[in-house]
Amino acid sequence: MLVLTRKPKQQIMIGDNIIVNVVEVQGDNVRIAIEAPREIKIYRGEIYKAIQEENRKAAEQPMDIDLTQAEPENNK
């Protein structure tokens, strides 16, 4: 892992086409602007982690569940 110290308005280049700008730092919060090609997906880490975790849980379904009694109730 590479650890860098940057000041507001300074940048980090990742490869040739990803630029990470440190916009401002206010107390606990760091505002970051990222310029990257469209095919590079960028997520907040906690969202991706939450989905990984939910997928892991979803993969642990019991084999023999009876879903015949679980029809939609047309709830809103």
Binding site: R38, Q52, E54, N55, R56, A59, Q69, A70, E73
Partner: protein
């Protein structure tokens, strides 16, 4: 035809054209790139997303609009490009389900990350709706708790 070994359904033969391709896998299952869809039964809103590679990996999914009639999201350009989407009518949308403690009434849907399948080329992706207010757990049967004492 492709022979697919599954723990749940035994050995299945599936046409190559019906295999769903997740080029990037699914979050936490990045190496799982091929799945088949197996209906729970003909009338059911539920389907299984069975891995073509891992016999004991199958997710339970449903069509979210059947339970959440006002569910909506937009698909951003990178996904349209990635799945080569032409028409909305060619898409299948599913949502993964989680079932805590074997209790179907407590089942939740991950509306934050729907599975989008382009039926034209069978390319698929679990799309993360980064800017939406949806969560990973929405109860399919929100009334279930309230009705507990009724029986």
């Amino acid at each position: 035809m492709r022979k697919i070994n599954t723990v749940r359904f035994g050995e299945i033969e599936e046409e190559e054209g019906k295999i769903v391709h997740f080029e990037q896998g699914l979050p936490a299952f990045e190496e799982e790139k091929e799945f088949i869809i197996i209906p729970y039964d003909a009338e059911s809103p539920y389907v299984f997303l069975q891995s073509a590679k891992t016999p004991d990996l199958a997710f339970l999914m449903t069509i979210p609009f059947m339970f959440f009639s006002d569910y909506e999201f937009s698909i951003d350009d990178s996904v349209i490009e990635c799945l080569a989407i032409d028409k909305q009518e060619e898409l299948l949308i599913y949502t993964l389900l989680t079932l805590p403690n074997r209790d179907i009434r407590q089942m939740t849907a991950n509306l934050l990350a729907p599975v989008v399948i382009n039926t034209k080329n069978m390319q698929a992706k679990q799309v993360i709706l980064e800017k939406s207010a949806y969560m990973t757990k929405h109860k399919l049967f929100p009334q279930a708790d309230a009705n507990k004492g009724d029986k």
